[in-house]
Symmetry: C2
Subunit: 243 residues, 2 copies
Amino acid sequence: MLDMQSLLTRKLSCFGRLSQDDLVVFKQLLRRRRRRFCAGQELIQEGEKIGVAFVLVEGWSCSYKILRDGDRQIVDFQIPGDFLGLRSILFHTSDHSTQALTPIEVCEITPSDMLDRLARRPRLATAVLWAISRDEAMMAEHLVNLGRRSADVRMAHFMLELGARLRLVGIGDQGGFACPLTQYHLADALGLSAVHVNRVLRHLREAGLLTFQRGRVRFNDIVRLRDLAGFDPDYLDHQLSRF
Amino acid sequence: MLDMQSLLTRKLSCFGRLSQDDLVVFKQLLRRRRRRFCAGQELIQEGEKIGVAFVLVEGWSCSYKILRDGDRQIVDFQIPGDFLGLRSILFHTSDHSTQALTPIEVCEITPSDMLDRLARRPRLATAVLWAISRDEAMMAEHLVNLGRRSADVRMAHFMLELGARLRLVGIGDQGGFACPLTQYHLADALGLSAVHVNRVLRHLREAGLLTFQRGRVRFNDIVRLRDLAGFDPDYLDHQLSRF
DNA sequence: CGAAACGTTGACTTGTTTCAATAACTGTGG
DNA sequence: CCACAGTTATTGAAACAAGTCAACGTTTCG
C-alpha cells in the first residue's frame, strides 16, 4: 500500500494546479490528531451537531443512513486516502453516520483548521471541491446502480468499481482484492436482502465471473464481468489515470 | 416566484460568511451569457469534453444517465436557482447528460470565469463548496430512496422533497405545486416502470394522500404523507430555514 | 381534425423478499 | 487444543412487489 500522505497529495494534485506551498499547507492538516477506532465503532452519528471530518489513513469504513423501520442503506465505503464526513464541516450537522468496518486509523480535521486553510489557499479550496465532486460522481453511479440495474449486474458493477478504487491506492490488482465486507454489508449497500446477495454471489461464481470467499474478491473473468456490468471506470480515474 | 439573483445570493449566503464584495463578484457571473433552450433540448451530453456549467434561471431541467440497454436513470431535477453541471467545470468532462424539461432560461458559466472568481474570493469558493455539498446530501437521500423504500413510500418521499425545494424558491406551497413532469420522468427518477408509477399514484390518490393530475401535485393530507414517507426536510433547509 | 404523446387498466410473468432451518466459520476462555 | 457462542454463509419453499405485454382511453398541440 502506498504512503497515505503521498496518496492524498496525489489525489488532490489531480486537479493539477497546486503549488508546493499549497501542498505544505495541506500536509500540516495530516500530521496531527491521529486517532484509532475499533472495528464496528461509530465515528460520526447522523444528526450530530459537531461538524468534524476525517481522512482515512488505514482500514475501511462506511457511511450510511438508518430508516425508521431499522433498515439501513450504506451510501458509500471509504478506503485509505478518502475523506470522511467532509460535508458536515460546512453543514455543522452530519446527514449520515459513519462506522469503522475494520480497525482504522484516521486523521481528524476540525472545521476551523480546514476552512482557514481553504481561505488562505484558493487553489486548495478548488482541489477539495474537486475531491467532493469526485465523491459525488461515484454516488451518482451508485444511484444508477440501485435504480436501473438487476441484482446480478448491480453486484458485478459494485465489485468492479471497488476493485478499481482500491487499485488506484495500491491495494489489490486486476485479479482481485482483500475485502473485509460481509454479505450483510453488500446487501445494505446494494439495496438487496442478505439472502439474495448470497444467491447473486453464487450465480456469479457459477458463471465463472467472480468469487467472493473468505475475505477475498477474485475476478475470474474480468472481461466478461466488465461486459456484464457495462463498467466504465472513467468517472473514477479520468483524472487519476495519468499516474 | 422570487427574483433569480436574490435567489442565488440567498442560497450562497446560507454559508453565512460572504462579504458584499464576494456577492458583487458572484453576481457578475449572472449578468452575462443568458441563453434559452426549448423543452426537450439537451444542454449537456454525457461524455462531453467541454466543461461548461449553468445556473438555471427559469424552468425545469433534469440530469440523467443512459445505460447500454437504453434504460435511463434520472439523477436529479433542477429548479430555478440550481446549479447545473457544476461537476464538469472541475472534471473537464460531464459524467451525465442534462435536458430541459420545460422551456428554460439559463446563465452560462465558463470554467475560467468560475475558477478565477473562486481563486480571488476564498469565501465564495467555500460557499460554492457548500452548494455542492447540499446537492450531494440530496443525492444521498435519493439513493436511500432507491435502495430501501417501497414504491409507494418512494413516491411520497420524492414528492415531499420536491415540494419542499420548490417552496424554498417561492414556487408552490404546503398544498402542492405545478409540476411539468410526466409519469415517465417519475419512473426514470424513482427506478420504477411507468406502468407501476401509474398504479402507485392511484394508491396514493385513493388513500387520500396526494393527487398528481393535469400538471399539478396536490398534497391532500400532508401530515399522513410525511408520516408514511418518514420525511425530514432538515437536509434541505437546516441552513435555509432561517429565511 | 388528426396524430402523437401521455395516462390507465387487466392478466400474466419475473425477480426479489421473507421465513425458516442448517452449516460453516471466527474468536475467546477454559 | 478444544468447546462453545456468536456471527456469517447457504439453501429451499412460499409469498409478494414490481415488471412486462397489450389494449384502450385521454389529453395536447400543430
